[in-house]
């Protein structure tokens, strides 16, 4: 975890947030909205965007004010900041995206407590400068949106044979209700995470191979 005031490689920060340190895949944070609203890909997408918006603003503000907040009230202060941002989003959605607002329901105010957001504020924004924090928020938020979209897509496809409301699997496909009900959400996510595990193992193997090659190359050079 970067703790120094040095500027980090933006690409790395983004990759880290989007994949390697992904709130869902790596940290298992922010699970409630992930599981709660992803009955369809569309719901997942909007929820992800709402979260992304809050994350961007909160990382921005927290990294701006980080010097001024004493430790004892750090969490209450951050969370009040986040909560007001969320309320803004909530009011806005209520006003201009009323249907989605009704579908996402309770999970919009719950963005406040999305562990990923406070976690980021605590772990990254409170320790890094504004631009890094923004990149981090972008990576994290997009990573989160991606996860929501993926799970929503899988559940919609398997549960209703549709994707973004379009019939994909044909009429003969029997809707497997499991996937739109709570148990299916857990199980589908379990399988997605298993897939992520496999991908990560491959990435790691590749990295190791590269390192190995470099080492050998260095040895030969010597």
């Amino acid at each position: 975890m970067p703790s120094k005031e040095e500027t980090l490689n933006k690409q790395d920060i983004f990759n880290d947030g989007f994949w390697f340190n992904n709130a869902i895949f790596a940290q298992l944070l922010g699970m409630c909205p992930l599981l709660g609203v992803t009955t369809t890909a569309e719901n997942g997408f909007w929820m992800g965007l709402a979260t992304l918006a809050v994350l961007l603003c909160s990382n921005l503000i927290v990294s701006l004010v980080r010097g001024f907040i004493p430790d004892e009230v750090r969490i209450p202060a951050y969370i009040v900041i986040i909560a007001s941002l969320v309320t803004v989003v909530e009011l806005a959605m209520n006003a201009w995206m009323h249907d989605m607002y009704l579908i996402l329901g309770l999970f919009i105010p719950l963005i406040v407590v999305n562990c990923a957001i406070l976690g980021r504020a605590e772990a990254f924004a409170s320790k890094n400068n504004v631009s890094d924090s923004l990149v981090d928020a972008l990576g994290m938020g997009l990573g989160f949106t991606f996860a929501l979209l993926l799970l929503g897509g899988v559940r919609e496809l398997l549960g209703q044979g549709e994707l973004f409301g379009f019939n994909i699997l044909g009429d003969a496909y029997p809707d497997v209700l499991l996937f739109i009900l709570p148990p299916g959400a857990f199980i589908a996510l379990g399988f997605i995470l298993a897939g992520v595990n496999v991908i990560n193992q491959r990435l790691q193997a590749k990295k190791d191979a590269v390192l190995q090659a470099e080492k050998q190359g260095a040895a030969q050079n010597v």
Partner: protein, 193 residues
Amino acid sequence: MTEFGIILLSAVLVNNYVLTKFLGICPFLGVSGKLETAIGMSFAVMFVMTLASTASWIIQQLILIPFDIVYLQTVFFILIIAALVQFVEMVMHKTSPVLYQGLGIFLPLITTNCAVLGVAILNVQQDYSFFASVLYGFGAAVGFGLVLVLFSGLRERLEAAPIPEAFKGSPITLITAGMMALAFMGFAGLVKV
């Protein structure tokens, strides 16, 4: 009396926060590795959630509604909860270092536990009386604690199992949670609301 029984039953089993409402999943997955920790966490959450629903009822009825500022609900509730948790954390650190260690980084995470804010918001949405809302908060927390403890028992058992590499860790944990949710579907309809 039956009304209260129904509220409790509904919150604990039928509309279990974790398994049917998807609230508080992060600590459910995070703190269920060991039985002892899970039990400790359950009690901490029970305490905080009961307090949170009490506080939220008071704020809703005495401040938000009279002054017509319901749109500040989220901010008010979360501020109260955050302060409450921080307070509990300080007290626990002082009085019970062992428990403090056991709950580790998760005490601050109670703040970001959806279940706590969720209980506050759902509570006031349901228009319960004061006592009923306290009971509801407690019941929801008991439901959370119950599945947390059951889950940690299962996970301890999983630890020894030769699970395929790709599924080790979080995947199998989630699948197990899914199985639990499946089982909990059996309680559907015990309480009709």
